[in-house]
């Protein structure tokens, strides 16, 4: 039976196409993966910043997500340094959004009548981003395949309207559909002419080996601390300038002209904050952060990320008031 299932099942890349097509057909803008190290699709500015403010959005994108401490040198069949999330953001979430999600499972070949699906409480929290939401982990035959979250706060700010976030764990879904015990056995692509298969291992194993080694064994702790300090300093410098440029005068008018406001690089500041977050994760994987230090460093990064979110909200407000 296992082979019968495997033949029908979509390859890893077909899965990505199919889900993206599904959401594109339901009005989502397909965004490219964010080209910076992030631990989750949520950290991409397309989610973290764009859920702020009143503007409706519908976006979907695949996001490679790096978690240095989860690396296992490619030796554990179920854990990865870098996994793939398919992220969908719906602001505001449409009525019966769960049904929409279930339709997407049908689209990738899951017959709902042949499986056990449960929505089990799982709330999400990212203290460093001042962000939290409530939702579920979606369980398919005992496997968590999706994280479903209604964002309530971001950057310490209440959201209105809220956003619905659907995060598919692509490797898990592929393992499930293709019925393979190891991530590395997932069929990534199949040549339509020759039928030759490229597996997940063929495509990605070397990355897992090398980045695990880098995170655990090679990364220079002193240099990482220095990176963290440098990125932090630059982010704080931008924040200081935002304090004057993204500011209203006593009449409630922007202090700077519309173009200066629109061009202020909040997104640049956010990238610097993300760089800090990644440096922190590497230091953590390297075992270089003691429990006592941990709280302090997290507070520093929180200050950057929450600060940027507030900058972004302020900038959007000013842009709206000047008609930009």
């Amino acid at each position: 039976m296992a082979t019968a299932v495997a033949k029908k099942a979509l390859t890893f890349q077909e899965l990505l196409f199919t889900l993206q097509k599904f959401w594109a057909e339901r009005g989502c803008v397909l965004q490219q993966p964010y080209d910076l190290e992030v631990g989750a699709g949520t950290m991409s500015p397309d989610t973290f910043l764009r859920v702020l403010g009143p503007k409706p959005i519908k976006i979907a994108y695949a996001q490679p997500s790096r978690r240095p401490a989860d690396g296992r040198y490619g030796e554990n069949p179920n854990r990865l340094f870098r996994h793939t999330q398919l992220q969908v953001i719906l602001k505001p979430p449409p009525e019966r959004v769960q049904e929409l999600y279930l339709e997407s499972l049908v689209a990738i070949g899951i017959d709902l009548r042949e499986h056990d699906i449960k929505f089990e409480e799982d709330n999400w929290e990212w203290p460093v981003g001042g962000a939290w939401g409530v939702g579920w982990q979606v369980m398919l035959d005992g496997q968590e395949i999706t994280q479903f979250t209604y964002f309530q706060q971001c950057g310490g700010m209440d959201l209105d309207p809220i956003s619905g976030e659907i995060t598919y764990g692509m490797e898990r879904i592929a393992q499930f559909l293709q019925d393979v015990d190891s991530i590395y056995d997932i069929v990534w692509a199949r040549d339509p002419e020759t039928g030759a298969e490229m597996t997940y291992g063929d495509v990605r194993l070397h990355e897992e080996q090398q980045f695990s080694a880098y995170s655990f064994d090679y990364a220079d702790v002193e240099k990482l601390w220095e990176h963290l300090r440098l990125y932090e300093a630059e982010c704080l410098a931008l924040a200081a300038r935002a304090g004057t440029i993204l500011h209203e005068d006593s009449d409630g008018k922007p202090q700077a002209d519309a173009l200066t406001v629109a061009r202020f690089p909040t997104l640049g500041a956010y990238e610097l904050a993300l760089k800090c977050s990644h440096a922190f994760n590497l230091l953590d994987a390297r075992g270089a952060i003691s429990v006592t230090e941990r709280v302090g460093v997290m507070a520093r990064i929180r200050k950057l990320i929450v600060g940027v979110a507030q900058m972004y909200a302020e900038q959007e407000k000013l842009k709206a008031s000047t008609g930009n």
Partner: protein, 699 residues
């Protein structure tokens, strides 16, 4: 009369919150109908009202709701007659009052009050229809339901609820009541099972047909019916394996009941090779991470099977697919666990002691290495108090290794197994059985429903560990306040109290507190804290009444609570005795005596007094008190508290006669002082078991 049905359709509600919310919706609905005079006289909530829930809905059904409120007439008083009429003609004041009361001026009456003559009117308030009241009031009750965590979902944030509301059904008899909440207005359309039913809404015909109609759409809406179905199915499916039983787990049954609308049970298997892993680890993976029931063979040993509760019905084909999926997930998790189990053993616990220096316990209290050292010393000191039976060497070894499992991968993965895993590793590494068991049991009891450590060494280690944490945090001024107890210090103290109460350990709170606390201020705060915790234990775990607890626990000064087991025994004796008539009378008398002493500002003084037989009731009471006190001293010594209380109750006739015949506050100061001294002596001598003045007596 008509039946009321109200259903709230929701996106999946967290399983842990459903039961309480269902009960609250029922309570609120019945209370509302009662308050609004819409329930028949003598309405029986148990027979006449019922509640339902699934992950996707909460519902109530109330039978025999009145169709409208009765009209109410009430007499209202208006302006004074002398203002209402001028020269016999009604003034504007009279007219306004008549208008307000809805009667003609001619129908106004005059009433005489202590303040003079006033106008009055009988105003009839027309009853509202049940539908009108329900539509207006029920939404407020829904909005007031408590949720541990709730959310906004609509733009403009008009309301918070546990999850978005998808639909509402409200029927009074066969009529729709348009109740609105969360942007939805009730109709008669509901939804069946997400997958098994069509996905299209269908209409509920009447409240009586609700349960059956939903069952037709694959929703077992009655929680107890679902629980019953699950238990039956677990039994049934387990029979496929000869001699096997599923491991009873009430909490898990409850959880899966609230995760399903149409439950069925599926048996899965895992490779027997995983049985080399400790049962504790396998069961934790299955129960906590996968919500599977474990299966055991006839001898009670874990068998390589599991049971999972599905929210769908299956045929052979789908059962095979679902089984295969679940088995793969479990295999992956067991693989991880086995990897950690083997990986961790490469560094034995003894070598991990020094790793604890890098694990912070609390920033001002140092590392776990420092904590382990303190716990070791404290446990040894307590062991000395306990004496003879303690294996001091094993206890010391256990204290040294107790926290080392915090550095293992397996505990990082399964934090709920800390201690247990340490005990298992210690055993695999040849540590003495007594030390292994003590490490294993160090966090027992985890809750008030849990057991106590199996050995005296385990008990001492657990007490020392918790006392050290409490003393450390109190020393830093981080004691719990109100609902805030971030370090779970109350739970830690409860654990100590439970161990002292439920083991034979000859130990009181006194050395535990004084040896653990670093200074006088901490000692005092800890004593007060433990006194409150002993009270909590007596009330919540032993079910003792408030007044009994107050009577036996004593003041902070006389510290009756320090010997926990003795306090429990005294509470039980008082509880058993309190029903007796003589006991109640003696309790009342003690209250009276205490009041007299307080009013007289009596302070105990040295010295004695002489009485002659001629002094009647006073002499008799003194004699009796002396006899009983002697008896009491012996009975207390033997901890024969029931007999002691019976002895105390025998003093009743003398006390009654004394109060009937003797005036305590005699004008002669010497006599007065003598009588006060007698009463004070009685109170002091007789309060050793309980302070009877705390007992609440009828009348």
């Amino acid at each position: 009369m008509a039946d009321l049905l109200f259903e709230i359709g929701l996106e999946e509600v967290p399983a842990r919150m459903i039961a309480a919310a269902e009960a609250e919706l029922l309570r609120r609905t019945v209370a509302l109908l009662g308050r609004e005079r819409l329930l028949p006289a003598g309405f029986d909530e148990l027979a006449g009202a019922k509640s339902y829930s699934t992950p996707r809905r909460l519902a109530v059904l109330v039978q025999g709701v009145r169709e409208r409120q009765e009209d109410v007439s009430e007499e209202v008083t208006g302006p004074a007659v002398k203002i209402a009429y001028k020269n016999g003609v009604a003034t504007a004041a009279a007219e306004a009052f008549a208008r307000k009361s809805g009667v003609a001026v001619a129908d106004l009456k005059k009433v005489t009050t202590p303040k003079g003559e006033y106008l009055a009117a009988t105003s009839v308030k027309a009853g509202r229809s049940a539908a009108e009241v329900i539509a207006a009031e029920l939404p407020k009750e829904v909005g007031a339901i408590y949720w541990a965590k709730n959310m906004y979902w609509r733009a403009g944030k008009p309301e918070r609820f546990v999850r978005p509301v998808l639909w509402l059904v409200c029927l009074l008899g066969e009529e729709v009541v348009p109740v609105s909440f969360g942007g939805k207005t009730a109709g008669r359309a509901t939804f069946g099972h997400r997958v098994l039913a069509s996905g299209e809404p269908f209409e509920i015909e009447s409240p009586e047909s609700y349960e059956a109609q939903l069952a037709g759409e694959y929703v077992l809406v009655d929680v107890e019916a679902r629980r019953h179905k699950i238990r039956k199915a677990l039994d049934h499916v387990t029979r496929e394996i000869a001699g096997a039983r599923w491991r009873e787990d009430e909490a898990l049954v409850d959880q899966v009941t609230h995760l399903t609308e149409w439950p069925t049970v599926l048996l899965g298997n895992f490779e027997p090779e995983y049985l080399v892993l400790p049962e504790e680890v396998l069961v934790t993976v299955m129960r906590d991470h996968q919500k599977y029931f474990a299966v055991e063979d006839a001898a009670g040993k874990l068998a390589p099977h599991f049971l999972t509760v599905l929210n769908i019905s299956t045929d052979e084909n789908s059962a095979a697919i679902i089984r295969q999926g679940n088995e793969r997930v479990l295999r992956a998790r067991f693989n991880d666990a086995r990897f950690f189990w083997e990986f961790d053993q490469r560094v034995p616990l003894a070598e991990r002691v020094k790793l604890l220096e890098n694990v912070t316990f609390q920033k001002d209290l140092g590392s776990y290495a420092a904590k382990s050292e303190r716990v070791r010393v404290l446990a040894a000191a307590l062991a000395e108090r306990v004496g003879g039976t303690v294996d001091a060497v094993a206890l010391d070894e256990a204290g040294r290794l107790a926290k080392t499992d915090l550095t293992t991968e397996l505990v990082k993965e399964f934090t709920e197994l800390q201690g247990v895993i340490g005990g298992l590793y210690a055993k695999a590494q040849g540590v003495s059985q007594i030390a292994c068991d003590a490490i294993y049991d160090q966090y027992t009891p985890a809750s008030m429903d849990d057991g106590v450590p199996r050995s005296v060494e385990g008990a001492l280690l657990g007490i020392a560990d918790r006392a050290d944490t409490i003393a450390g945090m109190f020393g830093l001024g981080m004691e719990p306040t109100g609902s805030k107890d971030p370090f779970a210090l109350r739970r830690a103290a409860n654990g100590i109290v439970k161990i002292l109460a439920e083991t034979e350990l000859p130990l009181t709170l006194e050395p535990i507190v004084t040896l653990a606390a670093k200074d006088e201020a901490t000692t005092e705060k800890m004593f007060a804290f433990f006194r409150e915790r002993v009270g909590f234990y007596l009330r919540e775990v032993r079910g003792q009444a408030y007044d009994v607890v107050a009577a036996v626990i004593g003041s902070e000064r006389n510290a009756d609570y320090l010997s926990v087991r003795d306090t429990v025994a005294r509470a039980e004796a008082v509880s058993a005795a309190r029903g007796g008539e003589d006991f109640a009378a003696v309790s009342a008398a003690f209250k009276r005596i205490k009041n007299i002493l307080a009013q007289a500002r009596y302070e105990a003084s040295e010295g004695g007094f002489m009485l002659r037989e001629s002094e009647g009731a006073e002499f008799a009471l003194m004699q009796k008190a002396y006899d009983v006190a002697k008896q009491l001293a012996e009975l207390r010594e033997q901890r024969a508290y029931s007999a002691a209380l019976a002895a105390i109750a025998t003093i009743r006739p003398e006390v009654d006669a004394f109060f009937a015949e003797v005036m305590v506050m005699d004008p002669d100061l010497v006599v007065r002082q003598r009588r006060l001294m007698l009463l004070s002596t009685i109170v002091t001598n007789f309060s050793g078991i309980a302070d009877f003045s705390e007992i609440v007596t009828a009348g």
